[in-house]
């Protein structure tokens, strides 16, 4: 089994606290060797690049350097953190001049980026460690009959040059997990479309419209719920659901679960431990006792 440094990201430590709780619960249940490093900082969500590219890379080289020091691959539950950290790693690994420049910046703090650790998403780790069949064996409460819309969003799959875990045009990792849990994936045409989260502040109506269209698509496919690997997509789809549906002239309730919440339910972890009670849109698609 691999050794992992857990990088929750800011959302899982704040507005998506339930994601943090569910991840820890699932990780404990599956005996994953995953520890959170207290030195980890916010990745900057890509916006630091808008101030200065080298600032964004240096901040994340620092995060990578701390994981290297512990000899642990980084595992994150946030798609944007995934992209930002992988992008920094990609640029540092492929540009000697940049790497030298960034290491000069880190030197004063006694750190060095060597390029020895990988950055992975939590659900990739589940598949890598257990496989679809292995995960199936761990299931104690199969989610039989549950129709789940796998909503990837953007940064778990794109851009392929940097993420590259699976074909970005037709990823299957979420479908594999859904099937392993005994549920049925129902795929719509917007499962890879953006939720608009990163334009929420400058253009809330546009952001909400994109989210509304995604929710509508899940409804069209008769999904009982949506599952997403990204807390930012979750925020738009779950917390902002009412507003998003209003933007596209709809009114219904669609439960939205984080991947570890869905996995945890099938593993027999209590809904309370998975923070289900914190979801804004009621999760009434599964038996919660």
């Amino acid at each position: 089994m691999g050794k992992y440094a857990f990088y929750p990201g800011c959302a899982a430590k704040g507005a998506s606290k339930e994601l943090y709780e569910a991840t820890i619960a699932v990780s404990n249940k599956l005996n994953l060797d995953m520890v959170e490093l207290p030195e980890f900082s916010c990745c900057g969500a890509g916006v630091l690049e808008e101030i200065k590219e080298v600032l964004d890379i240096a901040v994340n080289a620092r995060n990578l350097a701390y994981a290297e020091r512990e000899g642990r691959d980084i595992v994150t539950v946030c798609s944007t953190c995934l992209l930002v950290l992988r992008k920094a790693k990609y640029l540092l690994d492929n540009d000697d001049e940049l790497r030298e420049e960034v290491n000069e910046i880190l030197k004063e703090s006694g750190l060095e980026y060597k390029g020895t650790v990988d950055v992975k998403h939590f659900h990739w780790v589940l598949l890598e460690e257990f496989g679809e069949e292995g995960l199936k064996e761990k299931v104690v409460k199969p989610l039989t009959g549950l129709k789940v819309y796998p909503y990837y969003g953007c940064h778990t799959v794109r851009p392929k040059d940097i993420i590259g875990y699976e074909p970005s045009e037709n990823p299957q990792s979420l479908e594999k997990i859904i099937r392993a849990l005994g549920a049925t994936p129902v795929c719509g045409e917007r499962r890879l479309e953006c939720c608009g989260f990163h334009a929420f502040w400058p253009a809330p109506n546009i952001s909400m419209k994109l989210t509304g269209l995604n929710l509508k698509d899940a409804r069209k496919e008769s999904a009982d719920c949506i599952v997403t690997p990204c807390p930012l997509c979750h925020m738009n789809l779950d917390a902002n659901q009412e507003r998003a549906l209003k933007e596209v002239g709809e009114n219904f309730k669609m439960p939205v679960l984080h991947v570890p919440q869905l996995v945890g339910l099938a593993l027999g972890i209590s809904p309370r431990e998975l923070g289900i009670h914190r979801n804004i849109t009621p999760v009434n698609c599964v038996q919660i006792s």
Binding site: C10, A11, G14, A15, K17, E18, P38, E39, F40, S41, C42, G44, A45, G46, V47, L48, E49, E50, I51, K52, E53, V54, L55, A58, V59, R62, E101, I105, L106, E108, S109, L111, C154, H155, R158, P159, D161, P167, E169, N170, E189, E193, C194, G196, F197, H198, A199, W201, P202, A203, I206, S207, K209, L210, A239, N240, R243, R278, N279, I280
Partner: protein
């Protein structure tokens, strides 16, 4: 030679004749190595001469043959049929015209709207007389470190693949779009240009802050240009020239401030820092719901361990030329 039977489900539409678009299927034997464009040409030559599509260079340079293959825009001349069958684990490929532009006929779209928008953004060199000599007798040098800043953006072939895939182009008619905005950046950092960073104002007026950074443009670009990188850098230039009193720029600075203060994003203060009181009021009802669900932290955040190293790294990074 290995071959496979493939069904091409092609979207057809002739606005002069048809009331609405429809799909027509063609089954052909595809040898290994055949491209989508070669398959389309085979269908046109041997089965249905009425099929209309664009194809000029066949070398991924002219950009004319961009089509949607199973929902994903790609250059037909660069894409091999077998690869697509493997990605989708199928023997049926749906071929459609690219999005965000009007269909002229079958797989041919009207690029004019995208190109006209780009033209308005003046993405061409406006020579700086202090740098560019008046006559050809003198050289105008661009040094490698200067070229590095915009080199990749010069590879754009105007295929409009990124524009067709952009979700914001679809919902915001004023949005410049990926390749035009990346072009604006390309000239904004060209040392020969007279407008220089002021070009960020053009990006601003064409809604560059509405880019959702979904990276779809980076993913579909046949030249691996990543227009989104240009858009982000153009936003950076706008902050540099002082266009800071807008939600986009203030959002960026809110992140910077949070990292300086504690190392983590202060989500509670984000609405206030990004949009002021308006931001708080607009999100008050959802904010209350989140607080009631225990989804908010204290506005005063405890710094991460080794916060000093983060501040030092940030300080030194900001000092880099």
């Amino acid at each position: 030679m290995e071959s496979r039977k493939v069904i091409f489900r092609i979207k057809r539409f002739n606005p002069k004749k048809d009331e609405r678009p429809y799909y027509k299927e063609y089954e052909i034997d595809v040898p290994k190595g055949m491209t989508i464009l070669e398959a389309l040409q085979y269908i046109k030559d041997n089965i249905d001469p009425t099929l209309a599509f664009r194809a000029f260079c066949r070398s991924a340079i002219c950009g004319s043959c961009s089509v949607k293959i199973n929902g994903y825009p790609k250059l037909a001349c660069k894409t091999q049929v077998f690869n697509e069958l493997d990605v989708y684990n199928t023997n049926i490929l749906t071929i459609e015209p690219i999005d965000n532009m009007e269909v002229i006929r079958d797989l041919i779209v009207d690029w004019d709207s995208a190109i006209q928008k780009m033209e308005k953004m003046r993405p061409y060199l406006i020579p700086d007389p202090e740098v560019v000599p008046e006559t050809l007798d003198e050289e105008c040098k661009v040094y490698p470190h200067e070229l590095k800043k915009f080199d990749k953006f010069t590879d754009c072939i105007l295929c409009t693949t990124c524009y067709s895939a952009c979700g914001i182009v679809r919902v915001d008619s004023n949005y410049g779009g990926p390749f035009p905005l990346a072009r604006v950046y390309r000239f904004a950092v060209d040392p020969r240009d007279s407008l220089k960073k002021e070009r960020a104002k053009i990006g601003f007026s064409f809604d560059m802050w509405n880019c959702v950074r979904c990276n779809k443009c980076a993913d579909v670009c046949p030249k691996h240009i990543a227009p989104v990188d240009g858009i982000m850098k153009l936003r950076g230039l706008s902050i540099e020239i002082g266009l800071r009193n807008n939600p986009g720029a203030r959002h960026v600075m809110a992140f910077y401030k949070s990292l300086q203060e504690s190392g983590m994003l202060n989500e509670v203060l984000l609405p206030l820092r990004t949009k002021g009181i308006k931001g708080v009021l607009e999100n008050l009802s959802i904010g209350i719901k989140m607080i009631l669900k225990g989804k908010a932290h204290s506005p005063i955040m405890k710094p991460i361990k080794e916060h000093e190293t983060l501040k030092e790294v940030m300080k030194r990074a900001m000092e880099v030329e």
